[in-house]
């Protein structure tokens, strides 16, 4: 009996129907029980199909005649038999290497093509989300200004903006995030976040911005935190002025 490894070596010849009947039977018997060989055989056949679709270069008939004449001469000179077996074996190894290279290149290009189309937007979103966490405040503001081109469907971007408005340590970044969110105020989630921000924000300039946004988007629920802010002794006078100005718009 032949061993699995030997059979694998003969699969190419098997697929091309270039083996003896006895060998064929042995291989048939083996692949019934060996999944690895079945897979390899399938791949080999698939590869051969690819090769078959490639048009072969036809040498001129003259070349063939010349070659045959030469060959006859050579055969006459030396009556050595041609070792066909070892020849095919080398050839199959070569084809195998070529096949694996083809597979690697194929998957590489396939990956590249799918990246450029579907994932391009995702890639840009990823870059933007990373830029939002940049160490430089100016870069974070740059990222926020770029969210302008996104729509209310881009939840990851909107969530990131909400997060920036709440936790960024730089006042200007929080301010820019609040302004950017105003564009998405048709979302309930964004309105809730703006309300919550007004309740917890201590920085007067952001409080003023939030009051203006909430008045503009006619968020009536804002009246409660606004009244609280107005009653709070620590609220600066100019914020109270803003409140006194905006609250009548909501009533």
């Amino acid at each position: 009996m032949m061993e699995c490894r030997e059979i694998k070596d003969r699969l190419m010849a098997y697929a091309m129907d270039e083996i003896s009947e006895e060998e064929k039977q042995q291989i048939d018997h083996h692949i019934e029980s060996c999944k690895g060989c079945v897979q390899e055989l399938e791949e080999t056949i698939a590869f051969l199909n690819v090769l078959n679709t490639v048009k072969e270069e036809q040498p001129s008939t003259q070349l063939k005649e010349n070659f045959e004449a030469l060959l006859e001469d050579e055969i006459n000179k030396e009556e050595r038999p041609v070792l066909r077996l070892s020849f095919t074996r080398e050839w199959t190894t070569f084809v195998k290497v070529a096949a694996s290279i083809l597979v690697v290149l194929g998957s590489f290009f396939l990956g590249k093509v799918s990246n450029t189309n579907a994932s391009n937007q995702q890639q840009q979103q990823k870059i933007l989300l990373a830029l939002l966490e940049n160490q430089s405040a100016s870069k974070r503001i740059l990222a926020i200004s770029k969210t302008n081109s996104y729509s209310i469907k881009d939840t990851r971007i909107i969530d990131a903006l909400i997060n920036k408005m709440f936790v960024d340590k730089n006042v200007n970044v929080r301010l820019a995030a609040a302004e950017a969110l105003a564009k998405f105020s048709s979302l309930e989630k964004v309105r809730d976040a703006l309300l919550k921000a007004l309740e917890i924000e201590n920085e007067p300039s952001i409080q003023i911005e939030l009051i203006q946004i909430l008045a503009e988007i006619q968020e009536k629920r804002a009246l409660t935190p606004m009244q609280k802010l107005l009653d709070n002794e620590e609220t600066p006078n100019y914020v109270k002025q803003e409140l006194a100005y905006s609250m009548p718009n909501l009533i």
Binding site: Q135, A137, L142, N172, L175, A176, S205, I208, E209
Partner: protein, 273 residues
């Protein structure tokens, strides 16, 4: 002759004394210096590769704190303090003094150096800091501090509460915020790298730009905008003006980096140089 010699010698001694009251720290491998304090700080650029810190000298104090109670006896006072603290070490709840008596903690976080003031504003009359020209700077002067900075080509991030912010000979990117302090910035050139944002709640913003600056301008205030740039005003559409707040969006020299100046109540002055 002898008196002249004595005066000369004491002068030299004084200079040496003044020089010894200076702390330096190597900035090898550092790209950003972060400073947290509660006093007025003045940052100048140098050509070396180090951070150096000194306290404001006396006559500067007069100019700055005026009536805050420090008199000419300051010198003898500090001598007494030296005697009193002999063999003792100052301890602070905010961290360990890494600056040889200056009362500042120095920490490294990756490429960022963090300088934290451990002393209260009551004991400070200002710090003078010098940093390499291209060092990124992040300053927070707490509740009462103010900031003066000059000669940097790097990114500067500044925040004060009541103190003024004055920047001269800077290029940006700049991100500055003051609650109630005026902000004055004079650009020598404007970096196109990333946005410039200046905001204050109630105070005035005064920005000077070179004539050829390319920028996308956003000016937002309830006050008035004054400028000598030729700013094209967008055509009025049919929308009514919103509560008298001015929102001017325009470009300088066909557009460029985003420059946003925002004051909730104060005037904005945009000057051409």
């Amino acid at each position: 002759m002898r008196t002249i010699l004595v005066i000369a010698l004491s002068f030299i001694a004084l200079t040496i004394h003044a020089q010894s009251k200076k702390f330096t720290y190597s900035l090898q491998g550092i790209t950003t210096v972060k400073i947290d304090t509660d006093t007025k700080i003045k940052i100048e650029s140098n050509t070396s590769k180090e951070l150096s810190i000194s306290e404001f000298s006396n006559h500067h104090d007069d100019e700055y704190c005026g009536s805050c109670g420090h008199d000419q006896d300051e010198h003898s006072h500090s001598k007494k303090l030296e005697d009193k603290t002999k063999g003792l070490t100052a301890i602070y709840p905010g961290g360990k003094d890494d600056t040889n008596g200056f009362g500042l903690a120095i920490d490294k976080e990756g490429k960022t150096l963090i300088v934290t003031d451990l002393k209260s504003h009551m004991q400070r009359h200002g710090l003078s800091i010098s940093l390499p020209k291209s060092m990124n700077i992040v300053v927070d002067t707490g509740n009462l501090g103010a900031l003066e900075i000059a000669g940097f080509t790097s990114e500067v991030e500044a925040k004060t509460n009541t103190g003024t912010i004055v920047m001269k000979d800077v290029t940006g990117p700049i991100t500055a915020h003051s609650n109630t302090g005026n902000i004055t910035i004079e650009f020598s050139k404007v970096s196109q790298a990333s946005p410039i944002t200046v905001s204050t709640s109630v105070s005035e913003i005064d920005v000077t730009l070179p004539e050829s600056t390319k920028a996308n301008l956003k000016l937002n205030t309830r006050g008035t905008v004054y400028t000598n740039f030729d700013i094209e005003m967008p055509k009025k559409d049919n929308l009514k003006a919103v509560r008298g707040s001015q929102n001017i969006v325009s470009t300088l020299n066909n557009g460029g980096v985003q420059i946003k100046l925002k004051s909730s109540l104060g005037n904005i002055y945009l000057r051409r140089k």
